[in-house]
């Protein structure tokens, strides 16, 4: 058996972590670019190969039509669900999409689980490169408020990757688990988790028993379409409007320029988490540079609606278990977006206590997943997670109403039995429609599955079929039926309303192996070589430019030595060494890059690398 890892499959970034047996502490694995964060971006090259993470993110600017980000927003959803997202995100939906969305990347079409599978495979590669061993099992985290279809889609992504998904763990629960290792916390804990695209709030109770510690989730709530992305969208719309007014440039919201602006604005947002002001300098196609000074105050006013939207679910989660904000013994902040000072302040004021921020909010979920992966892998248990289902499970009854059979916040696994019979003589089928949600009418809830119970012809009311609806420990629905007269188990083919069927998954698994055939290390070498190529060309060109005369002899010698060292490393196949040499050359050419920029643009391009000039 291979190794087991914990994976945080995020909207913006994904991470992979494991439990270090030496320290007993969870640890995130670094990728080839020196970061533990793998941008959740996938790009299809014209030659048919797939790039994931950092290289794909760069392609957002150069090949947006072949590149996709925030695919998590599409998981488990149908075309009709995502009309709002389409206004804000550059998803290119294929017209062939029926229940399952299909996204176009260049000339090819993929489902969201397939795209997520590319990200999972990349992380699997990171881990395998780190261990020097195969990785075949994983715990993957999902937003606590994910419904059945979204969870199923995540599990499918794991299958397509060839990973055995031992458990889907809710992100806030994973975070609590990671914190539990750091300090002894007791009592009630609120976990506020604002990620790139999803928001969750979970209320937990930490209990010490003679068998070990129990993390019992009491209630959970959230919004699977609310996150840091929404803050970026607000910023982008605000600046688009300003540029339209000042410079009369109306650029298409999804083009290259928009992507570049988005990137610049995210930098501004990050700066404003640290300081009171930040300045956006953005070169426009008309040769001018758009300059705007942001204050933290102005940012706060702009993003206040997003922060306010999180508080409804927070209040609901507390109300569901009759608790007050002050009943919480601890509050934990999770997700990159919680670095925003306004969010920290709002949460602190609401609960009346400073939140925990000791662990890196980007890493904490992956760390918790690694802890749970280790718990599942070990025979000896010292910790137990009891999680809940975020949404009520119901069945459609007469007149389109919904009868709730498993209420939200029920500890999972949970089940309910319903007895069915026929209404007319010789009826051969009973239609059953399963839904998830809190509303009273079927049309307002999320359709999970429809199926028909087959019955042998008999007088009306005579057949007695017991259907068992079970939500498993992953929060995924299973259905079984038994004929009470004969004792026979019924096999039920449940066609998920928004899922992919089994044969499709098999086909996707086969196809994904084709993409995987190119060895990970080999691909890294190719990518590093391509990058050195462009930087070597750029350097040669720059050295030929008359402006370079201003370089000192010492600087020139340093550049030449770095060029030689990079050329030498490219001949070998150590991609880490190539990357190191690229960085060295980039540093050596910083002054040269500055000299080459014309004065008007130079302020906007400060800190840029030579290859980007």
């Amino acid at each position: 058996m291979g190794r087991i890892v914990g994976i945080d499959l995020g909207t913006t970034n994904s991470l992979v972590a494991y439990l270090d047996p030496q320290t007993g502490q969870p640890k995130c694995i670094q990728g080839p670019y020196g970061s533990t964060l793998c941008p959740s971006v996938v790009s299809l090259d014209p030659d048919g190969s797939i790039a994931v993470g950092e290289p794909a993110r760069r392609r957002l600017l150069t090949q947006p039509e072949r590149t996709i980000y925030s695919v998590k927003r599409l998981m488990g959803r149908g075309p009709a669900d995502i009309q709002d997202e389409l206004k804000l995100f550059p998803f290119r939906i294929d017209p062939s999409s029926k229940n399952v969305i299909r996204v176009k990347l260049g000339g090819k079409v993929f489902t969201p689980p397939e795209i997520s599978a590319f990200i999972l495979r990349e992380l699997k590669n990171w881990a395998e490169a780190h261990f020097g061993e195969t990785v075949d099992r994983a715990v993957i985290t999902v937003p606590a408020y994910f419904n059945d279809a979204q969870r199923q889609a995540t599990k499918d992504a794991g299958k397509i990757t060839g990973l055995e998904v031992l458990r889907l763990v809710n992100e806030p629960t994973a975070a609590a688990l990671a914190y539990g290792l750091h300090e002894t916390q007791r009592g009630k804990v609120a976990v506020y988790d604002l990620g790139g695209g999803t928001f969750d709030i979970s209320i937990l109770k930490l209990i010490s028993t003679s068998d070990g510690d129990i993390y019992q989730v009491l209630s959970t709530n959230g919004d699977t379409h609310l996150g840091g992305d929404d803050i970026d969208n607000l910023l982008q719309a605000f600046v688009h409007e300003l540029i339209l007014q000042h410079d009369e440039i109306d650029f298409s919201p999804h083009g290259e320029l928009a992507q570049e602006l988005r990137k610049a604005l995210i930098d501004v947002k990050h700066q404003l988490s640290e300081s009171e002001t930040a300045t956006l300098r953005f070169p426009l196609p008309n040769g001018k540079v758009f300059i705007h000074k942001f204050t933290r105050c102005a940012l706060d006013a702009l993003i206040r609606p997003v922060v306010d939207r999180t508080m409804g679910p927070v209040k609901q989660a507390l109300a569901d278990v009759q608790l007050k904000p002050t009943d919480m013994d601890e509050v934990v902040l999770v997700g990159g977006a919680t670095r925003t000072p306004l969010i920290r302040r709002t949460v602190q004021e609401f609960f009346g206590r400073p939140p925990h921020i000791e662990l890196n909010p980007d890493e904490v979920v992956a760390l918790g997943a690694a802890v749970q992966a280790d718990i599942l892998d070990q025979g000896v248990k010292t910790m137990l997670l009891l999680d809940v289902t975020p949404l009520s499970l119901g069945i459609e009854t007469y007149g389109g109403a919904v009868a709730k059979i498993i209420p939200r916040n029920s500890t999972i696994p949970a089940s309910a039995q319903e007895l069915y019979t026929t209404g007319v003589d010789n009826q051969t089928g009973i239609d059953i429609h399963v839904l998830q949600g809190e509303r009273e009418l079927a049309r307002d809830c999320r359709s999970l599955a429809r199926f028909t119970l087959r019955v042998s012809p008999a007088p009306a009311g005579l057949p007695r079929i017991e259907v068992k609806f079970l939500i498993d420990a992953n929060g995924i629905l299973q259905v079984g039926a038994k004929d009470l007269r004969t004792g026979d188990q019924h096999s039920i083919e449940v066609q998920p309303s928004y899922g992919i069927n089994h044969s499709e998954i098999e086909r996707m698994l086969e196809e994904s192996i084709e993409y995987a055939e190119q060895d990970f290390a080999e691909r890294q070498v190719i990518e590093a070589r391509t990058e050195s190529e462009s930087i070597l060309v750029a350097t040669a060109k720059a050295l030929a430019n008359p402006q370079s005369a201003a370089l000192s002899a010492e600087e020139r010698a340093k550049i030449e030595a770095s060029v030689a060292a990079l050329r030498e490393s490219v001949a070998g196949s150590d991609y880490k060494l190539i990357r190191k040499r690229i960085d060295e050359l980039n540093r050596a050419t910083e002054h040269l890059a500055e000299l080459l920029m014309n004065s008007a643009v130079s302020t906007a391009l400060e800190g840029r690398k030579l290859a980007e000039v």
Partner: protein, 191 residues
């Protein structure tokens, strides 16, 4: 598929309606350690199936027994004494007049909403009616508690007495669900 062991038996409890919550929780946690699927990830498929079944049953049992009303409903169900009201939509006789008034106010509010009329007075009337029915709900709950105590006391008693108590519990449950629906309807209109 169905419940092999009853919920009370699963917790080692007699079929009594008064349950000490602390002890129930302790037992729940203890059994969770034993049954939870996390403990059977590397076990055979049969064991995993069994764990899923037992742990879901445990959670269903805890959810039911923890809730005072759910507990009565469940008990009547296993005793074969749960009968939902034959005339579900009919008001209990002693509430007839108040329900009539309430429905009039509700209709009035709906009409006023549609016509864009003045809602303030109607809302006030409904709010006071809601309060009244909430109080009724409290009364029914108190009666339910009293009947539950009777049940517990008659645990060893004769069949006829027990049957009578069960009929009373059943009626109170129906009563309760009628008032609850009423309150829910009012709350919906007041939103």
């Amino acid at each position: 598929m169905s419940n092999n062991s009853g919920y009370f038996e699963l917790f080692g409890l007699p079929r009594k309606l008064w349950i000490e919550m602390g002890a129930l929780e302790q037992k729940f946690l203890q059994l969770s350690w034993k049954f939870h699927p996390d403990n059977f990830v590397n076990a055979s498929e049969h064991e995993r199936e069994l764990s899923l079944r037992r742990s879901s049953e445990l959670n269903d049992a805890y959810r039911t027994l923890r809730d005072p009303v759910g507990r009565v409903e469940y008990l009547l169900g296993i005793e074969g004494a749960r009968k939902e009201g034959e005339h579900k939509q009919q008001a209990p006789p002693e509430l007839l007049e108040e329900v009539f008034e309430l429905n009039e106010s509700l209709d009035g509010l709906r009409e006023a909403k549609a016509a864009g009329g003045d809602l303030a007075t109607l809302k006030l009337r409904l709010e006071s009616a809601e309060k009244k029915f909430q109080e009724k709900l409290g009364e029914v709950d108190a009666q339910l508690q009293a009947a539950a105590r009777e049940w517990d006391a008659a645990l060893q008693g004769d069949a006829a007495t027990r049957k009578k108590i069960m009929a009373k519990l059943n009626e109170l449950l129906n009563h309760r669900s009628y008032i609850r629906n009423l309150v829910a309807n009012v709350q919906k209109e007041l939103l």
